[in-house]
Amino acid sequence: MSLPNQQTDAEDAELLRAVARGDESAFARLYDRYAPILLGLLLRILRSRAEAEDVLQEVCLQVWQQARSFDPARGRPFTWLVTLARSRAIDRLRAVDSRERAAQRSAGDAPPETARAEWVDETAIRAERAEVVRTALEELPEEQRQVLVLAYLEGMSQSEIAEAKNQPLGTVKTRTRSGLKKLSETLSVRLGRQFA
């Protein structure tokens, strides 16, 4: 399954290069390819449609203006885009941290995973990858999976997780490391060296 991934990475890198040269149609293609994934992530983190759409705009402008700084030798375009989007969302989360949101997060319970069926609209390749990732995640021990979700999708810091789950900081650290390394290995095996 590695070939489609390499192709997608190469295409994405080419699109980003074109965007760095000011090519608006390349930007539009990149947008059409990734905006739904990014908006889904932003919605998950921010839990507000208005804020998610706001941050999507910020992310798009940032991609447009900073495409030049993307270095394919240092990582994959998908990771760059997702990391950028997640960072902006966390910034917004921390800037506008309402009492309601803080209460939600400190409850420490990850919301139910979204239904598999919702990925079927996406291209076949991505739907397949989504399935592999979900399965790999489900194979992790519960407490490792939880820590990863709380950190990445809820935007909680190490000490916030430790407090919410009533665990020592060290435990959070080791569970994050074990969980993420296992996930990385599993995905490498099932999706090829460079996945997602």
Partner: protein
Amino acid sequence: MRHEDYKQLLALEAVGALESDERGALHGHLPSCAECREELRELTDAASALVYTVAPVVPPPALREHILERVRAAGLAEAPVDPSEALDRSGALGGSRRAAASGGGRTPAVAPEPRSVLRGFSLWQLLAGRPALGFGAAAAAIAVLLLGATTLSLWGRNQALSAEVSRLYDRLRATEGELAGQREQLASARDVSDLLAAPGVRVAELTGKQPAPGARATLAYDHSTGRALVMATGLPPCPAGHAYQLWLIADKKPLPGGTFKADAEGRARLSDRLPQGFSAPAFAVTLEREGGVPAPQGDVYLLGSAS
């Protein structure tokens, strides 16, 4: 910290959970450690895969259009010829200078690949028998639009000028004779004539085709940067889910430009960044689905060329 301690921080960093002092320490270590950088990269790839547990949400078309418009505006703001600079020099405006976009000099857009899909739509047929259209006498009107497109927000603050702008804007709906009459007044403005004198600026007049024979448009195209400004009148309103799309036609191939809609009075304005480098292009406006298409499919509403 020992090296092993730094390694323990990598996973937390990859999922974004590392806090400030440990984060600072790790980032102090990374520049000198390729092993940790590589492992961080792998772990960050794995973390970003978590995105796949979230359902994608397609943004509404209006948001797409808005974002693409903002991106275009951000691109234009970095272009070398900025009419708002010309206005500030002359002291014609009291408003503050438009903030320069960040990012430094951006190279002009690269022309997209030639379309290999040739379809027998009306646009192609018209291309085959393209009439020679002369240089419009509405250059002065274009100058107003070129200025207006980038400085409307500033002009809004200056009441005398905004009254002037709306007055001139209304006049543009009149016949070519009236527009020519305006030319003397506007040409006397030093900044306007500077802009028109800029090398590479071409002005084209587009005439309405069958669906809207009364439609007209004037278009200015700077072939060195690809910046274009279109001012159209007499356009019927777009049906729901549709928009007008601009095309630059070179070597009989239409290259896609931006989309726009007409207002209640049938007027429309578009500031766009087209492929650059074409010295004698033709232009067309077709009706397409909202969001634009890569090759023209709908009816042609306006057609013309620069000389």
